[in-house]
């Protein structure tokens, strides 16, 4: 199963996949579609990606986590397509023997995705849609 999904994200399955009897800590980050941005109301977001490159960048991030926190088990998925307010756009689950490593790995994955993973969003409000550029 790839990192990108065109279907709703299976949060419970991802959590169960990361469970280990020797992992006492399990951290979950969910990025969901918010109803506002930059002072405007948001009703939906279209996510699109350069899919093969996004998969490749995600694998690089997985490798970074394996190198920095070898004890961490990681399961993550990002959704592509038309999402409405409240829908989950990204789910990251990390488990480890103790909590510092899983929290750190979870944070690392979302920050690195936001830097380098070729995924874009077009936000819809009542009046229409616009592409979002976080670093204008």
């Amino acid at each position: 199963m790839g990192f990108l999904s065109h279907d709703p994200l299976p949060v419970g399955e991802l959590i169960d996949a990361a469970r280990r009897n020797d992992a006492g800590g399990l951290a979950v980050f969910i990025g969901a579609v918010r109803d506002h941005a930059r002072g405007r109301s948001v009703v939906a977001i279209d996510y699109s990606a350069y899919e093969p490159m996004a998969e490749r960048v995600y694998q690089q991030i997985v490798d970074e986590v394996a190198e920095r926190w070898p004890d961490v088990t990681l399961h993550s998925r990002h959704r592509i397509g038309h999402l409405r307010v409240g829908d989950d756009a990204v789910v990251i689950v990390a488990s480890s023997a103790h909590r510092p490593e899983c929290f750190a790995a979870c944070r690392h994955v979302i920050e690195r995705l936001k830097e380098d993973c070729p995924i874009w969003k077009k936000e819809w409000d009542a009046g229409g849609a616009q592409w979002i550029s976080p670093r204008p």
């Binding site: 756009a89 936001k114 993973c117 204008p136």
Partner: protein
């Protein structure tokens, strides 16, 4: 040399297409490609601020060399998560 260039998000929308094939001189780099894109599709010029380029699915610097048959891509500022 011939290079396939993929366009995404606001850049694709401005161009009205998601890919084009560009004929470039030998020893072309990402900078050459950027200019060739603007020449072929002037409408994208205003959408390249902050955009990076990739060659064969890997980010490439402005002076990175292109080869015949490469697939390049314009990567506007990403916004996942």
């Amino acid at each position: 040399m011939k290079v396939r260039l993929l366009l995404f998000a606001a850049v694709a929308e401005a161009a009205g297409e998601t890919e084009l094939t560009l004929e470039l001189p030998d020893a072309s780099t990402v900078s050459t490609l950027r200019q060739a894109l603007i020449d072929a599709q002037p409408a994208v010029a205003g959408h390249l601020d902050g955009a990076r380029f990739a060659i064969n699915e890997t980010f490439a610097a402005e002076d990175a060399a292109l080869a015949d048959g490469d697939t390049a891509a314009v990567i506007p500022p990403v916004a996942g998560g």
